[in-house]
């Protein structure tokens, strides 16, 4: 055997790099033990990952799904990383949000996290990112579980680092519920493995229709739906979310709120459509009806709870519960229009919630205020930050000209196609309720006199991150080629399923 020289071609290894780059970054951050260097490493990862994700999308658009055999063991025996339009789209979303949050966060983290913990914070952040990217790219049901644990354990650490002592309790709550969710998921996967003898998602999709005994199969479906439901905070499994988002360090809230639940939604999509398939399990189980009812309740009750919150981060968290309702609603319609609405709302809501949470991070840095009443007059003292908050808030409401309008429009269209006018009513009512809770902040910030003298200056990179996302909210309200265009292609891919 001769000694050969092998060149390393980045483009051949994109799916692996999506998970390996943040993993290596996390290791470096933990080894250097210095907050500033750890941040620089994280920033490098945050800049590299969007490039990797965009290259993946290009390759998928040019030449179809990418299959990557991890360790060289061919699927279905080995672990396969499989990227098609649906997960390439989500990879871009998660990596871009990570990049924006990391670029904006260093001084906010210095302010909120103990000096000896800062490097660990970035290590945990990157591990969380690694887990999320891994869950997105992998095509193996058990590998999903492994990455789910990686991201969840890292998220518990991130939340526990909040400066409020209640952060510990919030992290513990999430730990318990998150572990139950992951366990339910793995029980479901175990049943599927027992029935089919495979863990590869594509292989699973092809073998499922041949199974005679359907009861274990439906049990598996139920376990996986409930497990993922806990992870994505679908009403009534959302109780961990408000505290977790409220007491985590501000920039961790911004990242987790805009990405973690979205990845769980993606897995739900993957299982519901690609693996089970539209014409196999879905017509035989009440899953779609159940999703529709829970989503509607989430949209109304989440918004209602948001209206009555006094802590601005808790308010945004409850708003997330209701926005997750919109996304699930789109899934429950099982139509191309509905799915396009749901998938594009994942993207649009991530931008909107990211902007809102980063704006709040800037407010907390400048004034320490987390109560809405303490934000009085901030419109005058911090006009740029609060301006970004208002624009993103308009996006949350779904005002035309913002990204939020686009996805809600698809959802309303989807509901109208199927003649479900009560769904249209629920969407409109929930949006009107968003006017109330965003309006309260606007009223306090712009129409009340400032409480004290000039606040501390918020770090420009943090304000810039909020402004950049707010601008993106407006841009994606007009140019929908990526946000809705690729989403509708992804919807088509999902509806086709793996089996065919």
């Amino acid at each position: 055997m001769s000694v050969e020289h092998h060149a390393f071609h980045v483009t051949e290894h994109l799916p692996a790099l999506a998970a390996v780059v943040p993993l290596v970054g996390a290791v470096l951050a933990a080894l250097v033990r210095n907050g500033t260097i750890a941040w620089l490493v994280s920033l490098a990862v945050g800049l590299a990952l969007p490039v990797i994700s965009i290259l993946m999308l290009w390759e998928v658009q040019a030449s179809g799904p990418i299959s990557y055999a991890l360790g060289g063991w061919a699927p279905p025996v080995g672990i396969e990383f499989r990227v098609d339009l649906a997960n390439a789209y989500l990879a871009i979303l998660v990596s871009v949000m990570a990049g924006v949050v990391l670029a904006g966060s260093p001084r906010s983290i210095d302010d909120e996290v103990n000096p000896e913990n800062r490097a660990w914070y970035y290590a945990a952040f990157l591990l969380c990112l690694c887990g999320l990217m891994g869950m997105i790219v992998t095509g193996d049901a058990f590998n999903v579980f492994v990455f789910m644990e990686v991201s969840s354990l890292a998220t518990y650490i991130l939340i526990a680092m909040g400066r409020d002592r209640r952060a510990l309790v919030a992290a513990y709550q999430y730990l318990i519920i998150g572990t139950v969710g992951a366990t339910f998921y793995v029980i479901g996967v175990g049943l599927l493995l027992a029935m089919t003898g495979t863990l590869n998602l594509v292989d699973l999709a092809q073998r499922l229709p041949q199974i005679e005994a359907t009861r274990p199969l439906f049990t598996a479906v139920a376990f996986i739906i409930v497990g993922l439901g806990l992870k994505l905070a679908l009403f009534p499994m959302h109780l961990w979310l408000p505290n977790a988002y409220a007491y985590a360090p501000s920039s961790a809230s911004a990242f987790v709120a805009s990405t973690a639940t979205k990845v769980a939604v993606y897995l739900l999509l993957r299982f519901t459509f690609s693996v089970y398939g539209v014409d196999f399990v879905l017509p035989e189980t009440p899953a779609a009806t159940l999703f529709m009812i829970l989503a509607s309740v989430a949209m109304i009750s989440g918004s209602l709870s948001a209206i009555f919150q006094t802590n601005v981060k808790r308010m945004l968290a409850y708003s997330s519960v209701s926005q997750i309702g919109y996304i699930i609603l789109g899934i429950a319609m099982i139509s191309e229009t509905g799915l396009t609405g749901g998938i594009s709302h994942m993207f649009n809501h991530a931008l909107i919630k990211g902007a809102l949470f980063i704006a709040v991070a800037a407010v907390i840095f400048a004034t320490g205020a987390v109560r809405i009443d303490d934000m009085a007059g901030l419109g005058r003292t911090m006009p740029v930050t609060m301006g970004a908050f208002v624009i993103a808030g308009l996006g949350l409401i779904g005002v035309p000209g913002t990204a939020g309008f686009i996805s809600k429009w698809y959802l309303i269209q989807g509901a109208a196609e199927q003649g479900m006018w009560w769904i249209v009513a629920v969407i409109v009512v929930s949006s009107l309720m968003a006017v109330f809770y965003i309006g309260r902040v606007v009223e306090v910030a712009w129409f009340r006199a400032p409480l004290s003298d000039a606040p501390r200056r918020a770090p420009p990179e943090l304000v810039l991150a909020a402004v950049a996302l707010a601008v993106a909210v407006v841009i994606f309200g007009f140019f929908t080629e990526f946000s809705a265009g690729v989403a509708s292609d992804a919807a088509r891919v999902l509806l086709e399923g793996y089996a065919r």
């Binding site: 055997m1 390996v20 290596v24 060289g72």
Partner: protein, 140 residues
């Protein structure tokens, strides 16, 4: 427990064997049951036993917390590094086939061996870090 002669002597005799057994489980994992995770737990258990009998200060003199905190990411670095070596030998991530210049069997052997060393380093240090964290509570 520092004053109990029997415990001290027995522990002193046992600990080298525990550590040796850990290495056996690690290295024999190629041919039988075992591997980095189990070996890491056994090695850590040996040091934790030392800490319980001789006190946490003695254990931390033997294995300083700073070393433990460096070992945790180091093990992952070894694992991930072996994976990345796959990239540069013309293979996929974690594909060890070309690690030994094209000798596939040797490559796979060394690949798994190194990866398991990484697992040993991380698992043993993580167990110790958990022990130190709990045993050190309330002393600051």
């Amino acid at each position: 427990m520092r004053l109990d002669t029997i415990l001290r002597i027995v522990a002193k005799i046992f600990i080298p064997f525990i550590l040796m057994f850990g290495l056996y489980v690690q290295l024999h994992g190629d041919f039988g049951p075992g591997g980095g995770f189990q070996a890491g737990v056994i090695v850590a258990a040996g040091i934790i036993l030392y800490g319980i009998i001789y006190g946490i200060n003695a254990a931390q003199r033997a294995v300083p917390p700073g070393l433990v905190e460096a070992m945790m990411p180091l093990g992952v670095a070894i694992f991930a590094g072996v994976g990345i070596a796959g990239f540069f030998t013309g293979r996929n991530y974690l594909d060890y086939s070309n690690l030994m210049h094209g000798d596939m069997v040797h490559g796979q052997h060394w690949g798994v061996f190194l990866v398991e060393i990484g697992v040993l380093v991380t698992v043993s240090s993580t167990m110790l870090a958990i022990f130190y964290a709990f045993a050190g509570r309330g002393r600051e």
